[in-house]
């Protein structure tokens, strides 16, 4: 079969990178960066997830259709998160009609 076999040194390299990134995210968490703490934590997590997806899960060497599936999953996750938050974060912008009560 013509399937690509990833050499083991790639796996070891990704493994070391994942451990270093884990150490980095713990280290950064104890430094006060304000809101940037969240950005860094999620940025590192996403970088780690991408390494796992591309190399451990072989997506880098997979068919275009696999990429489409993954992109579709990611797209709907973004819709789920962004539409929920766009509702939740903008509720206070509108006045509550008289006679209605707000849940505290």
């Amino acid at each position: 079969m013509a399937r690509h076999i990833v050499p083991t040194r790639v796996y070891y390299f990704i493994f070391i990178a994942l451990l270093i990134l884990t150490g980095t995210t713990v280290w950064v968490a104890f430094i006060d960066l304000g809101v940037m703490n969240n950005v860094v934590a999620l940025g590192i997590a996403t970088l780690k997830a991408m390494l796992v997806v591309l190399y451990f899960m072989h997506v880098r060497y997979s068919s275009k259709l696999t990429w489409v599936y993954l992109a579709a999953g990611f797209l709907f996750l973004v819709i789920l998160l962004s539409f929920t938050m766009s509702d939740f974060l903008t509720r206070h912008l509108l006045a509550v009609p008289q006679g209605w009560s707000l849940l505290q």
């Binding site: 796996y11 451990l19 995210t25 968490a29 104890f30 997590a45 451990f56 599936y69 709907f76």
Partner: protein, 214 residues
């Protein structure tokens, strides 16, 4: 020996198409899994936005050291799983069994640490429910954080238990000589599942253990 499944099924052109088809089926399942955990992450995000102080306080109740150790253990298990798939592609039966066994041991170690953490929380009455007590501010909101903690890590641990069960199946089949360099699809597919579970933890660890540490 039971009939081996590596022969080409009649509705496929060749083994490569058969593999591609299995692979897409697995990815379709993983997409539903992304959205399943996505729902939990969305709920977490809404409540964390509403109660940021309580979530920071709740996070500080968790043990960063154990969480970090477990992250490393899970990354190790992803490496051994990747190597199991590699040796399945090469068709080396003994190495498949070896690396799957190592993955199971690491997965069990993760669950062991998780059990220690859970029992510690339960012992300190931090399990949301009737016995919940928290001496501090925002007790009700901290309980919400802990509900997310137990639900998300619990669902994650449940996925790992299933993964370990699947790997035991793979070991049995590998020992029977089912997998070769021509046919190793189940090892690859369960490998994808295991790596997915690893990715969920990669997000759970900073979101649950590392917020408000500074």
């Amino acid at each position: 020996m039971a009939s081996q499944p590596h022969t080409l099924q009649h509705h496929f052109e060749d083994l490569e198409q058969q593999f591609e088809s299995s692979s897409l089926g697995m990815w379709a399942f993983l997409v539903t899994e992304i959205l399943f955990f996505g729902g939990l992450f969305t709920g977490y995000l809404v409540y964390r936005t509403k109660f940021p102080e309580a979530f920071h306080l709740g996070s500080s109740l968790l043990d960063v050291q154990l969480g970090a150790i477990n992250t490393a253990v899970l990354i190790c298990s992803s490496l051994t799983m990747a190597l199991a798939v590699y040796w399945a592609q090469k068709g080396d039966k003994n190495k498949i069994v070896l690396f799957l066994s190592l993955t199971i041991v690491l997965g069990a170690a993760f669950l062991g640490v998780k059990a220690v953490e859970y029992s510690h929380k339960i012992h300190h009455h931090l399990l949301p429910g009737d016995g919940f007590t928290f001496e501090g501010p925002f007790a009700d909101q901290v309980r919400i954080f802990l509900s997310f903690y137990f639900t998300m890590t619990g669902m994650h641990a449940f996925h790992m238990v299933i993964g370990i069960g699947l790997m035991i199946y793979l070991i049995v089949r590998a020992r029977q000589g089912w997998y070769s360099s021509e046919y190793n699809t189940p090892v690859e597919m369960i490998g994808l599942y295991w790596h997915f579970v690893d990715i969920v933890w990669i997000y759970l660890f900073p979101l649950l253990y590392l917020i408000g540490r500074h």
